[in-house]
Amino acid sequence: MYVVAGPDGERAELDLVTLIVARVADPPPSASPEQAALLRLCAAPLSVAELSAYLHLPFSAMGVLLTELLTAELVQARAPIVRQSRTDRSLLEAVMNGLQRL
């Protein structure tokens, strides 16, 4: 499952925690009911997992839907932070600080 990610058109895998944000205030008239519903949901950033949950669509169906919307430049995808061979220590420290406040 691949989606177009950045503005320079590189392809990135769609992740459960890729954040999706609508680039338009209102769905265009051409949008399907599913597309319109998704666009309304992600007026503020929302993860693919949350979109899947609210739309009651399986994760695999999200890929199709989001690829259409990304191609039409109706949404923006914000790539997740994934584990690397050397995970950024400042990231881990930020998470620890955040957890301390819970």
């Binding site: 925690v17 997992a49 949350e50 669509l57 584990r83 995970t87 620890m96």
Partner: protein
């Protein structure tokens, strides 16, 4: 699956919306056997009421050793509960409670590959479930800590006894927890983050 139409879709409550500044998200996986308390742990630390994402598994993937499959069905829906913790205005952490059976892991792209790390949640009454999970995580190079959910009616063991019983190497953190309690679940996540931090310092694990 019927799509209900846009007017009937309840979205996040106003207080559950992320700020526009949210730039990226990371994920942690809580993995364990059926009924071990994964969703309880997710719910105890999540800022949102846990949500559920589903995936459909066709007959070929259905095994015989679980409670999810049914011989009369051709497809089974596998659900995964998850929650969310806002770390900063820019960074969000998601927690996924995942069935221990490995064949479910492939249903969600990159679930383990991209995760910062995992919590293996253990029930002392069913230790055997954990062996397979831990072996798979090791194979995939996913760093993990072990949390023993202290069910009131489950036998209690000293942590070092459990370490031996689970055949854990000394470097892997193991602790007891009460998944119902926010502070206890948070401590488990803190232990995982400290472990990941120590790995990042030494570079001992890739």
């Amino acid at each position: 699956m019927d799509f209900k139409g846009s007017d009937t879709i309840p979205g996040p409550r106003a207080e559950d919306q992320l700020p526009h500044t949210a730039q990226s998200a990371a994920k942690i996986v809580i993995v364990g056997g059926f009924g071990v308390g994964k969703t309880t742990m997710v719910g105890s630390v999540s800022e949102i009421t846990p949500l559920t994402t589903e995936e459909t598994m066709t007959q070929a993937g259905i095994g015989v050793d679980d409670n999810f499959g049914s011989a009369s069905k051709t497809a089974t829906t596998v659900a995964m509960d998850f929650g969310r913790i806002s770390i900063t205005e820019q960074l969000v952490l998601y927690l996924f409670g995942t069935p221990g059976q490995q064949r479910f892991w492939f249903l969600w792209n990159g679930l383990f590959e991209g995760a910062l790390g995992a919590v293996v949640l253990v029930d002392t009454r069913r230790l055997e479930v954990s062996f397979d999970v831990m072996g798979r995580l090791e194979e995939r190079g996913v760093p993990f800590v072990v949390a023993v959910n202290a069910f009131p009616d489950a036998p209690r063991y000293a942590i070092e006894e459990l370490r031996t019983a689970l055949d854990l190497t000394p470097d892997i953190p193991i602790m007891e927890c009460d998944a119902r309690r926010r502070a206890s679940s948070r401590d488990v996540l803190m232990t995982l983050m400290r472990f990941l931090h120590s790995l990042a310092m030494t570079g001992s694990r890739t």
